[in-house]
């Protein structure tokens, strides 16, 4: 469960990146965050991984209030979230395999187990034959897949994908969305930021429109609320 409750983010120069945002994303949900460049999508992601703290309001992820999360626990918290960064943030002096291996190394997973997991994930994203290549030897779509694989490799509860189809051709973009949908079907919560409305159209997923730091429209939000209430009741019964 991800909850942004009356969240505002004001930067040092006085501009508001987000103004009084309220978003609730249920466990296992797939949500598109749609808006033009500079609308505040990346800021929302940075708040969710506690790379930023809100100027006001609360951010709650899996029952953890991030404002109150001690600095020493941030690293452990971030391991539960897979992020596909807008600029990919791949290490260019490491191979595809090494890039995907990194989160497992960071998490202290034993070498043998980690190698097996990396191979499985690379096979899942269709990059097995490129695993010894360096990022500079890959196409844009392949680079995105590496970023997806790295976000997936620790089997996170949540995946945040920040413009994962940016600069990709429509065919490759659809493949990336399909991949994320498959991951979501296995129970992972996925939030994908994009400014490409073509991808969102006919997806049947919840779409949150954001502009100038404010939510303009939250399609299917009501349905989501109903689902959430239903979930809560079920949890209470249990």
């Amino acid at each position: 469960m991800i909850l942004l409750n009356s969240v505002s983010k004001k930067f040092g120069n006085g501009t508001f990146a987000l103004s009084d945002i309220n978003i609730a994303v249920r466990r296992g949900e797939f949500v598109f965050l749609v808006g033009p460049t500079g609308s505040g999508k990346t800021t929302i992601f940075k708040l969710i991984i506690r790379d930023l703290l809100p100027s006001s309001g609360d951010v709650v992820v899996n029952s953890l209030e991030l404002n109150k999360l001690p600095k020493g626990k941030v690293a452990a918290f971030r391991k539960k979230i897979g992020v596909i960064f807008q600029d990919l943030k791949l290490m260019f002096d490491r191979t595809v395999f090494e890039n995907v291996y990194l989160p497992l190394d960071v998490a202290g997973i034993k070498s043998g187990e980690a190698i097996k997991t990396v191979n499985e994930v690379l096979s899942q994203v269709g990059l097995s034959e490129h695993k010894e290549k360096f990022p500079l030897q890959l196409s844009g779509g392949e680079l995105q897949r590496v970023a997806v694989a790295r976000a997936l490799v620790l089997s996170p509860e949540i995946i945040l994908a920040d413009e994962p189809t940016g600069n990709l051709d429509p065919q490759t973009s659809l493949e990336i969305v399909k991949l994320l949908s498959q991951i979501n079907e296995k129970g992972t919560t996925v939030i994908m930021a994009t400014h490409n409305l073509d991808i969102v159209k006919n997806s049947g997923k919840r779409v949150i429109h954001i502009n100038k730091g404010k939510i303009e429209k939250d399609e299917k939000a009501k349905e989501a609320e109903k689902e959430e209430k239903k979930d809560k009741k079920e949890e209470e019964k249990e």
């Binding site: 690293a75 452990a76 971030r78 391991k79 992020v83 943030k89 002096d93 990194l102 190394d105 960071v106």
Partner: protein, 288 residues
């Protein structure tokens, strides 16, 4: 131990910086080793001279055994004397014969009567040599007094100077090497800024990021100290035959293997401290 792999990669990918860090540590430990050799050697030379009789008082021929015993008691009562050895005329002749065994002409001319009996005296402290000498000169039975004050005091002065210059130079070089290493590791951290940001965003702990850099500082320190020690020890071993002939009779060389290995152990320990301190300076400065 996974961080060692990262450290290895960091070293391979910036060999010139690694070389600069190792060279400065090598220079520091080369100087430390040489000064340790100098200080240890000169201390041993002083000990040698201090262990030798420092004052020799020659008796007049008419000195009686009672007079000699009385003088001995007076000297011991001052508590400034650590040892007194009486050398009789016969003993003096034996020593003379030993020293001149290759020259029969000199041996023929000398008998025990010609040589004076004497006291060989060692002082507790070098500063007491003057008062012991004065006391002996005032005695009616003493004809002549000689002592090695000049040799020992000159050596002591030199050793103290070497020690002070050595400590000063070692301190200065240690500081220089720590700051140069901190700068080199700091540069590497700056170069890796993006990688470090990525690691943190995917959940790396502060220690996961820091450890390879600290291991790098440790590596530079240890490798530099071992090379510095090897060069200094090599030079010492190479120069041992020349030095032995120069220091004829003074048992300073060859240096003991245990002593050299102890020095290596201490230097590696010191290098580890330097390496870790400099990495910490860099890590705290650049990885806030």
């Amino acid at each position: 131990m996974k961080f060692l792999k990262t450290t290895g990669r960091n070293l391979r990918r910036s060999p010139y910086q690694a070389m600069a860090a190792i060279l400065i540590m090598t220079l520091t430990f080369l100087v430390i080793s040489f000064f340790v050799f100098l200080i240890a050697g000169s201390s041993q030379i002083i000990n040698y001279f201090e262990s030798k009789p420092q004052v020799t008082a020659f008796f007049k021929d008419d000195a009686t055994q009672n007079d000699i015993n009385s003088l001995k008691s007076n000297l011991l009562a001052t508590h400034k004397v650590s040892a007194i050895k009486f050398v009789s005329k016969e003993d003096a002749l034996k020593i003379y014969k030993q020293q001149n065994k290759d020259d029969p002409l000199l041996l023929d001319l000398v008998t025990a009567d010609v040589l004076p009996s004497s006291f060989e005296i060692s002082a507790v402290q070098l500063e007491d040599l003057n008062s012991i000498s004065d006391m002996l000169k005032k005695s009616q039975i003493v004809s002549d007094v000689i002592y090695q004050k000049d040799v020992v005091s000159t050596l002591t002065t030199w050793t103290n100077a070497v020690r002070q210059i050595g400590f000063g130079l070692i301190l200065l070089l240690s500081l220089v090497s720590v700051f140069i290493m901190a700068t080199i590791i700091g540069m590497k951290i700056s170069q890796k800024k993006e990688d470090i940001e990525i690691m943190r965003l995917i959940g790396a702990s502060a220690w996961y990021v820091r450890l390879p850099f600290i291991a790098e500082g440790f590596f530079y320190g240890v490798v530099g100290s071992v090379i510095g020690w090897l060069i200094a020890t090599g030079v010492l071993l190479w120069a041992t035959p020349f030095l032995e002939s120069f220091l004829k009779g003074i048992p300073v060389l060859p240096a003991s293997i245990t002593g050299l290995l102890s020095l290596l152990g201490l230097e590696v320990l010191l290098a580890t401290i330097f390496g870790v301190i400099s990495s910490f300076i860099a890590v705290l400065r650049y990885l806030k």
